[in-house]
């Protein structure tokens, strides 16, 4: 609870800066609207105004600056507007008894969450299997590791459409599978790196000790390397699940998807409704926060049970 005050302070500062930024961001749109409604604006006409800085416009038309905080299609919505939009597309939908409406974010969030979880599961599995191979086989280390690193330098936005096309060529229906693959593509790397580090965490004396017991390699894997890697694994999983969510959203962007948070962002952009973009963005942030917090909780419980609570 002691961390609450600094967190709230930072939050207040961010919201404050946000509110201050709304005025200059929206002033041109606000002045255009006011002029159309018959108010006198200095200078007249939106074309001459383009040459003048927003600060000057705000000074000369100080009475109309406030309009920027209540636009229907603002360039930058206020936090309150985003909050209202979020409520309208989630809580209000539930209140109306239509939580799964395709116009609500619960439906789109659920679509994104599904792909994220599939991608996360697939990526984690790949990461762990790859790490075991790398730790136990020098050949795998030399052949796998460079490719794993190279794979992360390819922009996922460029790769995503190819994965979609390939998977439809292979006769895979729908967007679920390719989205999960894109998501796994981003997620496996942190898990791989973390697991390699974790599996190599035991000191040489601990490995020597098992040798004096004449333990076989399966025994030393299950009894020493695997449990020693658990703290590293959880740290990687937290990074991995956030990466998986990003991967899913990116997978929804350039692919003509019509559902999912990524699709909402894209559609919001195409139809000029920044509020939809912002609320989808916040929904994604809340989702990521919830997933990471959940993993953090599981980590705490697991390490506590293992006697390794910190």
């Amino acid at each position: 609870m002691r961390s609450l005050l600094p967190v709230l302070t930072v939050l207040t500062v961010i919201v404050g800066i946000w509110y201050l930024a709304v005025a200059p961001m929206n002033v041109r749109v606000a002045l255009d609207q006011a002029e159309r409604a018959g108010d006198a604006i200095v200078p007249e006409g939106s074309v001459p105004r383009r040459e003048i800085s927003v600060w000057r416009l705000m000074l000369d038309n100080s009475k109309h600056v406030g309009l920027g905080y209540a636009l229907e299609r603002p360039r930058l919505p206020t936090p309150a507007q985003v909050g209202q939009e979020l409520w309208k597309t989630t809580g209000a939908m539930i209140a109306k008894g239509r939580p799964w409406s395709k116009r609500g974010l619960i439906y789109h969030g659920w679509i994104t969450l599904q792909s994220t979880l599939w991608g996360f599961a697939l990526g984690t599995l790949l990461g762990i299997v790859g790490a075991v191979a790398i730790v136990y086989s020098r050949t795998a280390q030399l052949s796998l590791m460079p490719w794993a690193i190279i794979s992360q330098t390819i922009p996922i936005v460029a790769l995503a459409p190819m994965i979609i096309v390939l998977s439809s060529q292979l006769g895979i229906e729908g967007r679920g599978v390719p989205k999960a693959i894109i998501s796994a593509y981003l997620c496996f790397f942190p898990v791989l790196v973390g697991m390699v580090k974790g599996l190599r965490a035991p000191q040489s004396s601990q490995l020597d000790l098992l040798r004096t017991y004449n333990a076989n390699s399966l025994q030393s894997f299950l009894r020493l390397r695997l449990p020693a890697s658990v703290p590293y694994l959880f740290t990687s999983l937290k990074v991995g699940i956030a990466a998986a969510l990003v991967g899913t959203i990116v997978g929804e962007l350039p692919t003509g998807a019509i559902s999912g948070l990524g699709a909402r962002i894209l559609i919001g952009d195409q139809f000029g409704t920044p509020l939809a973009i912002w609320s989808a963005l916040f929904a994604a942030a809340v989702l990521a926060g919830a997933l990471v917090t959940l993993l953090d909780l599981i980590q705490r419980l697991t390490l506590k049970r293992m006697g390794m609570a910190t």
Partner: protein, 260 residues
């Protein structure tokens, strides 16, 4: 070759190849350790005392000469689980309780659950840690952790105990106490113990035989048979006999240093 000899090294050589050329960790090391002996290895860093111990344990491969453990090769002895090894760091698994740490070798060696529990209880009692079975390592002091690691080495009843500076990281008072306990344990179990140490008083107090080693190349410069009685209270360390042996060890160490 006496019949009761447990560990025999004959002109043992071990050379590490490094980028700076070969390093002679051991050169021409010959030694007999009899059954029930308590042998200490003392010498400055780099004299090969730990390497010698690791050769006995088949953790290091000699490049020349011969070594037998219980009349077999070290590898066969290791596979027969003929010795328990205690490292300088206790190296307990933080995710296992003390009891489960001690049963680790027993699990690997395939003892039944019932026998595991029985042996854990017995060895815990031997190192005076009864009642700590359910505790995790971080809940114990450094000295207690090291006792638990000794219990782990004792759990499967190997006749030989190889100890590599087990009390090196502990403070003087704890060390004294553990030395006393180790002697009692040795008397009760009649094990053969090879013990690496940096401390002259520790070596003299514990051992029936003190092996003085010196570096570059690692070799034995003196082997001192202790004349102290088997029963050794802590204040024996002030007796003239004790000081006499300590003096000889110190002389041996100094002689070894004169080479470089």
């Amino acid at each position: 070759m006496t019949e009761k000899s447990v560990i025999q090294a004959n002109a043992l050589d071990l050379t590490f190849q490094t980028n700076d050329g070969p390093v002679h960790a051991l050169k021409g090391v010959s030694l007999d350790i009899g059954k029930g002996d308590f042998v200490s290895f003392i010498g400055p860093s780099g004299c090969g005392k730990t390497t010698f111990l690791r050769c006995m344990a088949d953790l290091e491969q000699p490049t020349g000469g011969g070594i037998t453990v219980n009349g077999t090769t070290p590898e066969e002895a290791r596979k027969a689980r003929a010795y328990g090894y205690v490292f300088q760091a206790a190296g307990l698994y933080p995710w296992r309780t003390i009891g489960r740490n001690i049963s680790l070798p027993l699990e690997i060696m395939g003892y039944s659950k019932v026998e595991q529990a029985e042996r854990v209880a017995r060895t815990l009692e031997l190192v005076e840690l009864s009642g700590f079975e359910k505790k995790f390592p971080w809940q114990l002091s450094g000295g207690m952790q090291q006792r638990a690691s000794i219990a782990r080495a004792l759990a499967f009843d190997a006749d030989i105990l190889l100890m590599d500076e087990p009390f090196g990281a502990l403070d003087e008072i704890v060390r004294d106490h553990l030395n006393e306990q180790l002697l009692q344990l040795w008397a009760r179990t009649e094990k053969t113990i090879a013990f690496v140490t940096h401390s002259i008083p520790e070596a003299v107090y514990l051992s029936t035989k003190i092996v003085v080693m010196s570096p570059r190349p690692g070799r034995i410069t003196d082997v001192i048979e202790s004349t102290l009685p088997k029963e050794r209270p802590l204040d024996i360390r002030e007796s003239p006999e004790f000081l006499e042996i300590a003096h000889r060890v110190r002389d041996g160490l100094r002689a070894g240093h004169a080479y470089d």
